[in-house]
Symmetry: D3
Subunit: 251 residues, 6 copies
C-alpha cells in the first residue's frame, strides 16, 4: 500500500464544485486529495492580434499558486517581477490541451481566458488544473452557446489529465501526491480526450530513464485513472455533458 | 434602505472560517458579504536585513487578487511584471496595521509573512484582509507562543478594519459594497484596536471634500461596525482571545 | 521648545519661488525649513485612454527624490528598475488631492502632469510637494484659462497640506522635521482646501495607536498650520488668487 | 517523397564540427539540414545555492536564437527584457535531458553551463541543441576528468534527440523541417540514451489528437532516426566515446 | 614585436564571408584575428513612429555576445532582464555610423535592422561589427535597389572602423587584441568613410590622458589600417562596390 | 553672430554655486547659460565587489533629468522601468572622465558616488555635468583628505568638458545651446585636464562627416573654451585649487 493507503492504480478522492465564484462566466473549485485549484473561465469579445480577422477564437490559460499553497512559502511572481519557467511551461500546456477540444471556428473571434489558481498543493497541480479548467470552460461556453445561439456546440469532447509515475517499491502508480512525486524516478503527465485519444504525453526520467515497456504500462495506468475523471466531469456538467456527447458523435 | 437592503449602519454578513488551508501556520477564509479573502500567516525564522541583530521580529504583508475576483478580468501583476501602486499601498497598510498589536520583542528575530489573496471582490477587500489577517496571524503566533514557550503572549490587542463613506441619498454608511464604493463621495478606512484606539484613519474625498463634522460622523459609524467584527474574531479565536485579553489587561 | 527652537504649533519658514524653471507651463521651488521640492506642471493636449471621449481632463502626479536629497544616498528608482511602494503611495496621494480643486470639465480633454522632485529632504516632503504643486498647477492653468479662453476658472479652491504628529515630551506638534518624524508615535498628513474642508486625512500609529481625543487635537493643530500656508500661496499667486476666490464664491 | 526529397524515415544531413570556438571548455557547431546551433559547455567551480554542500555537481542549459535565425526577424529577448515561455521550456528540457547521462557525484561541486545559440533555424532546433550539447558537454567533461583525475568517467551514456510527427499525406515522418513542423498534426520530441532508454517523450496534438497505435509508430520512427545520431556522435567523440561505452558497461 | 608577432601598424588577418546565413537579406561572418562576428541586415517595410510620414528610411543596430564568446562565461542580457550600458553604447555607435553612408531618402520608409552577434571575442568587437555590418547592409540594400528599382544607389560611400591605442613599450599600435586592449593607456575607435572622412572618433584615456600630438599619431595609424579594410570590403562586394564608387563620384 | 548673440568662440555665462545642498559631502549647482545641473558627491566606505581587496577606491557617476528639464516633458526612467542608452552612455562617460584625475590609491577602499541631476536643459548637459561634478567631487575629497589625513592630495589635476560643433553658416562653434546642437552637422565633446591633456574626445558626424582639418579646428576651439572653465573652477575651489596645483606639480 502507498503512503496514503491507496493501491497503485487508485486515484485520490476527486471533488469538483461548480459555480464556486460569482463573477466569472464559468468557475470551479477542484480538489484532488489535498490539491485544490480554483479554475475560472472568462470570455473576452476579441482575439489576440495574431488571430484578428481569422474568424476563429482562442483559448489561453494562466496558472499561479498563492504563496502558502505549499509547505514552504514561495515568493510571489509579481514580487519577483517575472513568471518562472515552470509556470510558463504549465500555462502553455493547459492552453494547448484545452484548445484540442474546442471548436475555435464555432466560438468566433472571442478569447477564453482560463485562470488556474492553486490554493493548496499536494502534487498533480497541473493535471488537476486541466481537469478543472475543462469544466469551468465548458460552463462558460455552454452559456455562450445558448446566449449567442452559436452554430454548433463548441466543445467537441471531454478532456482530463492525470499524472503517472514509477516509484521505488511500488513500480507504476497513478495520481502521485507531493511526497511520491518528489521521489519518483519517472514522472509522466497524460492529457486525454473522453474518446481515449492522447492530447499530450509528457514523460520525464528524473535522473533516470525508462524503457518502451515501462512507457506502455504508464500509459495504461493513466487511461484507467482518467476514466474516473471523465465520469465525475460528466456528472457535474449535466446537460452540457449530453451536448458534448452529441457533438462528439457527429464528428 | 441601501441597494442590498441594509440600513446605513448595518454591516454585511461576516464569516471567518479558520484553518482553511493545511500548510500555513495560520489561515482563514474571511467572507464579508460577497467579498472573500484567503488570509495566511507564515513564520520564517529570520528577519529582513535592516532588523538583524535587533532581537525584534517583523510582520510584513502581501495582497493580491486572482484575475477573476472582479466583474472584469484583471491582468495578473506577475504577467505585467510589476506590482501596481494600489497593491503596494494596500500591503503596506496591512503590514503597518498588524504590527500595532504584535509585541515584536516577544516574537524575537522572526518574520511573520501575511498573505491576503482576494478570491472574490465586492468592495472592502483591504479592510476584510486586515480583519481576516489578524485572525490568521493570531492562530500562527498562538502556536508559536506555546511551542517556543515565548516570554509573553505576543498579541497585545484585537485589530479589525472597516470602511465607511458618504453616499448620495444615504449620507454616512458603513461597510460599503462595490457599487456603493464606486459612487461614494467620501471614502474612509478605519483600523482600530479592540480597546477602541485608532491605528489608521484614511479618509479621502473622491473629487469631493468633507467637513470636520462629517469626519466625526464617519468615525462614529466605523466604531459601531468594528464592534461587530471584534465579537466575531473573539468567537473564532476561543482560548487565544482570552490570552489576548489577559495581555491587554497587563499593559 | 522643539529641537529646532520652534513651539509645538509653529511651522518652519516657508518660501515659494515661482517660475523657478524656464520650460514648464508652471513651476515653483518650495522650501519648508530645509525641505526643498521643485514642482512643475506640464499640460498635455490629451487624456489617458480610460478618459477619452469623456470631455473631461485629468491631473496626475509623479514624485521622486534625487539620490542625495537625504543624509544617506538612496539608490535611484530608475537604476533599481522599479518605483517603490512609498513613491507610488505619495504620487497617488498628490494626484488625488490636486484633482479635488480642479474643475476637470472646464479644462477639457487635457492632462496636467505634475512633477514633484525633492532636492533636499528634512521631513514633510509629501505635504510640501502638495502645497507647492498646487501653486505650480495654478500657474499653468491660469495661463491655459487665458490662452484657451476656458468657459470658467479651472481652479475652484486653494489646497495645501501639512503633517502633524504626536511626539514624546511635546505631545501634538505641527510640521515635523525629519528627526521628529522618525521619533513620532503618531504621524498624520492632512490635506485641506482654503475653505477648511478636508480632502485627505491619513493618520497612522507607528507601533502605537491614538484616541478620538488625540485625533481631534491633531486635526486642529493641522488647521492652524494650514492657514499659514494658504496665506503664502495667496501672496505668490496674485491675480490668480483673486480668480480662485471668485470661482469659490460662485460655487 | 517529402518536400525536400526525403523518405518518411530519412533524417536530414547531420554535421557536428567540434572545437568550433576557442574559449569554451567544449564547443560544437551542429548542423541538421539548414538548422545550425552553436553549443558550448563551460565549467564553473561552484554549484547553485540549493546544491551547496551536497558534494554533487549540476548541469544547466540556456537557449537562444539570434534575431535573424528565422525567416522573419525576432526581437531579442534582452531587448524585450524577458525570456519567453518557449525559451524557458526549451532550456529546462535541455538541462534535464543532459543531467540524465552525467554522474553528478563524480563531477563534484561544479556547474556545467551549456549554451545553445541557434544561428539558423529550420525546424528541430531544440533536438539539434540537445544532440550537439551532449557532444560539447562531453568534450568539456572529458578534459575535466583527465585534468582533475576524477574518480570515474563522468558521462554514463550517449544522449541524442529528434523530432517525429504526423503530417498529412505522409503519416509518420522523422526529423521535421520548419515547413513540415508548421503543418504537423502531431509533434513529438524524443530524447533517448545510447542504450535505447527514453529520457523524455513529449508528444503534442496540435489542435488534433493521437491514438495509442500512432504513439507507438512515432516512437519507433524516432528510435531509428536516433540510431543515426548516436553513430555520428560516436565518430566525432573518438576516445571519449570509448570511455562512455566502458562506463556504461560497468553500470 | 607585439604579443602576437605583429608590427605596431600591422592589422590582424581579416576575412569577410558573405551570405553566411540563409534567411537574412544580407549577412556576413567577419573574422579579425580571433574576433568573429555574425552581421545580418534585415529589411522591414516600415519606420519607427518618430519617422512616419517623413518619406525617409532608418538604420538601427543591435549588438550582443553569446555567453561564451569570451574567456569567462558572461550572463545573458535576456537572463539579467536588461541590456548593459556597454551594449547600448555600442549599438548606438554602430547605428549612427552606418547611417552616415546610407541615403535615407532613397530607401524610403523602411527600417534596416542590423544585428551584430559576437560569437568569439578577442578585442575590437565593436569595430569589427561596424566593418562587417557595412557589408551585410550593402548586400541587403543592393538587392533592394534592384528589386524595388530605387531612384538612386542607396549607399554613398564605404565605411569601416578600427581601434588604435597607446600601449606601454610599443607606443601607438593599431587593431588591438584583447590582451593589448586591457593594458592600453589610451584607446581610440575611429570610424571612417572610404573617402577618408571621419564619422566617429572616440578616444579615451584609461586612467591616463593624451596630448594633441599623440591624438594626431593615433588618427594617422587608424587611417593606414582602415585602408586595408576598405580593400577587403571592395573585394567581397564586387559589383556593389562599383556602384558605391559611382554614387560617391556623383556627390 | 549666433542665435543668442555670441561669437563663434564665446561660451555662455557660467556660474558654479558650491555647497548648494546640505546633506552631500560635496555639492554644486552649475549653470551654463540656461542649462542647470545639480552635482553631488557622496562618499561610501566600501568599493564594488570587483575592487574589493585592491586597496584602491572607485568613482562612479549617475545622470538623470527631471521630467520637465526640457521643452517637452520626458517620461521618468523609473516609470519606464529602465535607463535609456543615452543615459547609460553619459554616466559611463562622466565616471570615466572623473577617474582620470583622482588618485584611486590615495582614497583607499571608498566609492565616490557622483550624481548629476539636470533640472534645466539647453544643450551641453553632459559637459556641464562633468565640469560641475569635478567641483562637487573635489569638495568632498578635500574634506576627506583632511578628516582622514590621507597620505597625499587625492585630486591630481583640474578637469572640465565642453562641446564644440560645426554648424551651417557659422562653421566651428563652441558650447552649443540646444537649438545649435539640434542643427549641428558635427558634434564633439572634449574632456580635458587643467594641463591641457585630453581625457576624452568624442566626435560624431550627424548624418555627415568631418575631415582631419576640421577635427583640428574643433579641438582648438574646445581648448580655448575650456581655459575659461578652469579659471572659474579654480576661483570657486579656493584653497583646494592650490592643493590640486601642488599635487600636479609633484607628478
Amino acid at each position: 500500500m502507498r503512503i496514503d493507503g491507496r493501491t497503485e492504480t487508485e486515484m485520490r478522492p476527486v471533488k469538483i464544485e461548480t459555480d464556486f465564484l460569482t463573477h466569472p462566466e464559468g468557475s470551479v473549485l477542484i480538489s484532488i486529495g489535498k490539491t485544490k485549484v480554483i479554475c475560472t473561465a472568462s470570455i473576452e469579445e476579441r482575439v489576440p492580434p495574431f488571430m484578428r480577422g481569422s474568424g476563429k477564437g482562442w483559448v489561453t490559460a494562466e496558472y499561479a499558486m498563492i504563496p502558502r499553497a505549499t509547505g514552504q512559502r514561495n515568493m510571489r511572481e509579481s514580487t519577483k517581477g517575472k513568471v518562472t519557467g515552470r509556470t510558463m511551461e504549465i500555462q502553455r500546456l493547459i492552453g494547448r490541451a484545452l484548445r484540442a477540444v474546442v471548436d475555435l471556428d464555432v466560438i468566433g473571434e472571442r478569447t477564453i481566458w482560463v485562470d488556474c489558481d492553486v490554493i493548496q498543493a499536494d502534487g498533480g497541480t497541473r493535471t488537476a488544473a486541466i481537469t478543472g479548467a475543462f469544466v469551468a470552460m465548458t460552463l462558460a461556453l455552454h452559456n455562450l452557446a445558448i446566449e449567442k445561439d452559436l452554430s454548433d456546440y463548441p466543445i467537441t469532447d471531454f478532456l482530463a489529465a492525470t499524472s503517472v509515475g514509477i516509484v521505488k517499491e511500488h513500480g507504476v502508480v497513478v495520481d502521485l501526491n507531493y511526497e511520491e512525486d518528489s521521489a519518483a524516478e519517472v514522472d509522466m503527465n497524460v492529457v486525454m480526450t473522453g474518446s481515449g485519444q492522447f492530447v499530450e504525453v509528457q514523460g520525464t526520467g528524473e535522473e533516470a530513464t525508462f524503457s518502451m515497456n515501462e512507457l506502455q504500462q504508464l500509459l495504461e495506468a493513466a487511461q484507467s485513472g482518467l476514466k474516473n475523471l471523465f465520469e465525475i466531469q460528466s456528472d457535474v456538467l449535466g446537460v452540457a455533458a449530453d451536448l458534448i456527447n452529441e457533438r462528439k458523435a457527429e464528428l
